[in-house]
Symmetry: C2
Subunit: 230 residues, 2 copies
Amino acid sequence: MAQTHDAPDGGIRGRFRAQVRSEVKQAALRQLAEGGPQALSINAIGKELGVSGPALYRYFASRDDLLTELVVDAYHDLATALAAATRRARRLSPPKRFRAFAGAYRDWANAEPHRYRLLFTAPLPGYDAQSDRLVTASREAMIVLLEVLTDLEPENSKRDVNPLDDQLDRWSRSRDLADIPPSLALRAIITWSRLHGLVSLEIEGNFASMGLDPELLFDAEVTAILSPQT
Amino acid sequence: MAQTHDAPDGGIRGRFRAQVRSEVKQAALRQLAEGGPQALSINAIGKELGVSGPALYRYFASRDDLLTELVVDAYHDLATALAAATRRARRLSPPKRFRAFAGAYRDWANAEPHRYRLLFTAPLPGYDAQSDRLVTASREAMIVLLEVLTDLEPENSKRDVNPLDDQLDRWSRSRDLADIPPSLALRAIITWSRLHGLVSLEIEGNFASMGLDPELLFDAEVTAILSPQT
DNA sequence: TCCCTGTTGTTAGATGCTCTAACGAGAGCT
DNA sequence: AGCTCTCGTTAGAGCATCTAACAACAGGGA
C-alpha cells in the first residue's frame, strides 16, 4: 500500500495520525485567516509545526486535499452554529426564531470570513461543487433552515404548479429531506440566496466602502423576507 | 524615471504600449477562463505572446496589478452590457425593463463566470475593495440600476426615518448620484444583493448540483422583487 | 523477548512561479 | 544624425508543490 491519508484504525498509530491531521488543519486555518487561500502553504505549515515540508504529504495527498478537508469542516461548523442559535431561540416566536437563524448565519460569516469564502467561492482549480462529500456536508445547514421556515408558515400550500415543482421535489427527495412541499423548498433556496447575497457582499467590504452599516441592511432584508407579498 | 506602466502619450511609443497591454490582458483572460485566478501566470502569458517572462514587467508592475486592471475592465464591461440591455428595453414597461436588466446581469455572469467572480470575490492578497479605481468602476453599473428602479416606482417616497437614511444619503452624494431618495438607494442595494446572491450561487454550480434550473429560480426571485409587500 | 514490517520523517531534486538586476540593441524624438 | 529612452534578453534569488530515495523507529505477532 502506498499511502493511506485517513482511516484511523483506533490503535495508537491511528490516534496519533488523527492528532497530527487536526494540528495541521488548525495551522492551516491560522494561515488562511491572514492572507487568504493562496497564503496557505504546506511548507509554512510544516515550519509552524516544527517539521519539514514534505512530511505533511504523509497526512494529506495534496494541498487541494487539505483545502477540501477545511471546506467540509467549515460546512459542519456553520451548520452547528445555525442549529445552536435556532435551538437557543426555540421558545421565541417563529419570526424571531428566523431572525436568530439569520443573525447566526451572518455572525458566523463575519467571525470567519475566510472560511465562509471557502464555502461559497471556488478557490480550488478543478474544484467541483457536486462532490459527494460537499453535498453531504451542506445538507445539515439546509435542514436547519427548512425547520425554521416550516414553523414560519405552517400551512402555506400555495399550489401554482410551475415546472420548478418537479425539480424541487426531486431535490428534497434526493437529499432525504422527507416531505418538503415544493413551495417551502423554493422559499428555503431563495431565502438562502438572499442571506448569502448580503453576507458575501458584506465580508468583501462592499458595504464598508459605501459607508453603510451592514447590520442595518441585513435587518432590512430579514424584515422583507419575513413579510412576503403573497 | 524607473518605469511608467501606463500613460500612453499618444505617440507611436504609447500606441504600441497600449497594444501590448491589451494583448496581455486578452491572454490573461484566456488563462483566467480555464483554471481560475491562480492559473493566471505572467510566465505563461509571456510564452503565449512569444516573449520571455520578465518582459511583461515593463507593462504591468506586478501580477496583482494586472489582475486589478482586469477587474476594472470587467466592471466596465458589465456596466456596458447592463446599459445596453436596458436601452434595448426602453420602450417596454418598467417591470419588463427591470426584467431585461436582471436578465442581462445574469447572462453576463454566466457568459464570463471567471470575470464575475473576479468582481465580487477577493482573490487578491492585500486586495482592498475601497480602492478608488474600483469604486469609480462600479459606479456605472449602479447608475443603470438606479435608473431602472426609478422608473419602476416613480414616487415611492415612503418616509420611515431609520438610521440607514443618513448613511444612504451620504453614500449617494459621495458617488455623485444626485437626488437619490434613501428609500430608492436602499431598494437598489437590496436588489443588487439579491441578484448577486442567486447569480453567485449559480455560477459556482450550487443549483446544478441540486438538479434545479437556475433560470426558473431567477425568474421567481425577479418576480418577487417586482412585487414588494409595501 | 526479539525481529519484521509498516509508518514516519529526513534530505535532494525537478519543476514552476514572481520578481529584481544587469546588460544589449534598437527605434523614437529633437 | 545622434542622444536617450524603452524594450527584451538572460541570470538568479527566493519560495512554492510534490516525488523519490533513504534512514530511523515503534507496534504487534512469534
